[in-house]
């Protein structure tokens, strides 16, 4: 862990050094104004550009490695992206049955229930316990 931190610091310092190298010919006055770049300016500028780019890459790589290690150690939690909520299904209206049809459909069931309630305590013909008794025993 500490070695990656040292690497990050060194690479960040290199970025600063590269940036300074790029502006040094103009800051120190070795590059005359309104004139073509001298060989010294070209050398310093492009060397500085290279140093800055390589330093930036190194700093990013070391920082990413530190982050990876922190995640492995469980010191940093990876943020999970929130799943987009699925659109609610549009309710399909159930086919409407007329009340008369519904009553005729439910009539045998109601009749069976009534019969079962009136015969509570007795065994049914098929030998099974009445439905109400079963429910109460649960």
């Amino acid at each position: 862990m500490i070695r990656k931190f040292v690497g990050t610091v060194a690479a960040a310092l290199a970025v600063l050094a590269g940036l300074w190298l790029m502006i040094a010919p103009f800051a120190l006055g070795t590059q005359p104004e309104n004139a073509d770049w001298t060989s010294a300016t070209q050398s310093e500028f492009f060397s500085g550009l290279g140093v800055a780019v390589v330093g930036l890459i190194g700093a990013i790589c070391f920082a990413a490695a530190i982050y990876e290690e922190l995640v492995v150690r469980g010191l940093v939690e990876v943020r999970q992206r929130k799943a987009e909520p699925e659109p609610e299904p549009v309710p399909v209206p159930a086919p409407q049955a007329s009340s008369a049809e519904l009553a005729s459909l439910l009539a045998p069931l109601v009749e069976a229930l009534r019969e079962d309630l009136s015969n509570s305590g007795e065994h049914r013909r098929n030998g099974k316990a009445p439905l109400v008794g079963v429910e109460e025993n649960r």
């Binding site: 690497g7 060194a10 390589v54 490695a65």
Partner: protein, 78 residues
Amino acid sequence: MKAKLGVIALVVLFLGGLWLVAAPFAVGYQARGATYVDATVNDLWLGGSLAAISFVSLVIYAADALRELARRGKHSDA
């Protein structure tokens, strides 16, 4: 993998530092035997510092990696 890329960057920075030290003489904007011009002094200081920092970082990286290897070896022996 990312740390390896970082180490490679440090090696390249070390070589860049060496290049900066040699640049005034290699490119030719520093005359031999003459007093050092500002650009030369700047390059020598920055190049030397860059090479030194990169080298020290590489040494620390290697030393810490070796220490971790030794620790793992001790744990596997126990």
